[in-house]
Symmetry: C2
């Protein structure tokens, strides 16, 4: 018997009518004999509305209480989807994350799944029920509700697929898979038939919003093949995320990712001595500021310029930290910019084939896009550019690497 | 150290500002050194909104899924109240019904509390935290969320007060206690200083909406004194519900209760033989129809008329049941009315003092209110009257028994 885990995102369950449609998709599969586990996100803007409600009460809510509050959104959509299945003559039961046996650590608001005790889930499946699981949540050893952070329902689905040894794991979203670039930016972008875990991870961490990076990571660890599909067009093939894609692909750039809002902090005239980087980045990490690209410029007269990117909302906090460090690091000045973006090319083959970087820089230069910073990974090259030029850069790269052609 | 359980109803926590005000009341008590446990209902119309959402999906939701859905309302208000207390510098933690150890039977939508495992609650109190408990909910032995039915948060509060051996149990609502009659109907109604459990029970079951009958019952069993107060006027004395009120009160009618919407079903010409009542009321109970007042008229020519009251929404179902029984009970006909109401007088002393019934009938007759049915209990007399005359009847009785005078 085929066992399938599906996940439907917030836009797929935004209203009662949406839920009925999703119930129809699930019912068809259940009636065809599949064992179905369905993970749901909160309906539409529910999570944002709850966050707004908390903001009316306090500007610094404790993460434990926010988790308690936010977990209700997924419980609402789960119970309603269960009812919609009953209405279509399918036996179903909704479970909260704790009821589904999803145990996490105690890191509220960004908890990690520790284990899944699947006894109840297995029991419900054996009893012939479709099991609806509230995504994004679990229970800590303290008996408290935890949430897995933004996009956590993807992680719930992949973790359940691994724990239940499911035959299929399907992530339904509002787009028809993973595209070669964001189709809103590059109109000739096309969905990829498949993509490797590490490629998807790079895309997810450099701006592609379709899949949550942690879910992809988990898929890679447990070898769960993830089908990304559109709930509004479920018959389209979508994209399979898996270990190996077609060998030795001719075109080794698979897709372009971009981010529109990136901030930059430059520490000028830092004395060039060992340990200076750790002296800056450790205090930033302690202040909870997440740093992305870091570039250290060639030193002049024994000083160096250290530049890093952060979320624009973190610029102020980063400057505060560095101003505090100034007596110690003896840098000349700190300057910032918040009008930047990034564009990245990703592809497994890039690691072993030269020439991709120069082709990327050439394409951006020909399009008149100035490159502010560069960072590279094994299978990724990222350029920081002016935010206003990000869309042009995406289109230029999409064309240069012929991603419009299969 | 004084240990207090409070409960705040939906109108007391209807918005972020309401929650902040309630947090202020709780904080003052916590800062004065009391151990505080606070039970909350869902905010304002939340429960109704969730019911409406379910109605968009199905007309016959399973009770288990409704419980899952509705339980979220109280979790939202609990976590927000906890945040509001943090904002006021008070350590607090919100708990779901299951986390608070409230174990129930499996009767979804009308679960009864079986036991309370108070270890976590005691631990949080010992740690110096205010504990906010989501009202109206618990967990069954199956591990499923259950709800206690309408007004269930009152029951949660009284049960917790009993389990925690609290010194005080305070129910905050939007009126300043238990009144001699509904002040919207009888403008000179006044709040009672105290009332006995059995009096309150009779009032609650004959139309007074302030307190949930099951909560009063639980208070009586465990000897929990219940203070009913207004959260909008917390300094007003309110009403104490307790075992004994002031002995030998001169005026033995304590209060008037009323209901505006009552249906009536009359089975005419039933052969007057033993077992006829059980033959009718057992099938009604099996059909889930709750019958209130029952009157069997004097028999004429070996037949009798059997009349009973039901909720207007249950008239149709009751008639269906009786039509089905007709071949067996051989009654002449079934007639119904849905335009009725009730008015009741309640008072412990009535049991041993004659003359209350005749005084009641006289007052109604003088006010030109026709009595359709009469039923009496130990400490209660109820008259069924035309719905349109209920308000007049309440005022007439309030005056006749001089309830405007302390």
């Amino acid at each position: 018997m085929t066992r399938t885990v599906q996940k439907y995102g917030g836009s797929s369950v935004a209203s009662a009518d949406h839920l009925k449609r999703v119930a129809g998709l699930v019912a068809a599969r259940a009636k065809a004999g599949e064992q179905m586990v369905v993970v749901v996100s909160a309906m539409g803007d529910t999570t944002d509305d709850l966050v707004d409600l908390a903001a009316q009460i306090t500007s610094k809510p404790r993460a434990r209480e926010m988790d308690m509050l936010l977990s209700t959104g997924e419980i609402v959509s789960s119970s309603l989807l269960s009812m919609a299945l009953h209405e279509q003559g399918v036996d179903a039961v909704s479970l909260t994350g704790p009821q589904a046996g999803i145990r996490t650590d105690t890191a509220h608001a960004r908890a990690r799944i520790a284990s899944i005790r699947a006894e109840r889930l297995e029991g419900e499946l054996t009893a012939g029920r479709v099991v609806i699981v509230a995504g994004f949540q679990g229970i800590s050893d303290d008996g408290d509700l935890t949430t897995l952070g933004r996009g956590g329902s993807d992680t719930t689905a992949v973790a359940l697929a691994a724990a239940l040894d499911a035959d299929r794991c399907e992530i339904y979203t509002d787009v028809a898979g993973i595209y070669t670039a964001d189709p809103r930016v590059a109109p000739d972008a096309r969905p990829l038939g498949d993509i490797a875990y590490d490629e998807m991870l790079e895309l997810a961490t450099t701006g592609a919003r379709v899949m949550h990076a942690r879910a992809v990571e988990l898929g890679a660890i447990y070898g769960v093949e993830i089908f990304v599909k559109s709930s509004f067009n479920p018959d389209a093939p979508g994209t399979i995320i898996r270990r190996e894609t077609i060998m030795e692909q001719g075109n080794k750039v698979r897709a372009i990712a971009h981010e529109n809002r990136v901030g930059k902090v430059t520490v000028r005239g830092v004395p060039d001595r060992p340990g200076i980087a750790v002296g800056i980045f450790e205090p930033l990490a302690e202040a909870g500021i997440s740093v992305d690209t870091i570039v250290q410029n060639a030193s002049q007269e024994r000083t160096t310029d250290l530049t890093f990117t952060v979320e624009p909302g973190d610029i102020e906090g980063a400057v505060e930290v560095i101003e505090r460090l100034m007596p110690e690091i003896r840098a000349r000045e700190v300057v910032t910019a918040d009008n930047l973006g990034t564009v990245s090319i990703v592809g497994t083959g890039m690691a072993t084939s030269p020439g991709y970087a120069s082709k990327m820089f050439r394409a951006l230069t020909d399009a008149g896009v100035n490159i502010e910073m560069i960072s590279t990974g094994d299978i990724r090259i990222t350029c920081v550019v002016e935010a206003a030029r990000v869309a042009d850069a995406v289109r230029a790269l999409h064309a240069a690497f012929e991603l419009d052609q299969a």
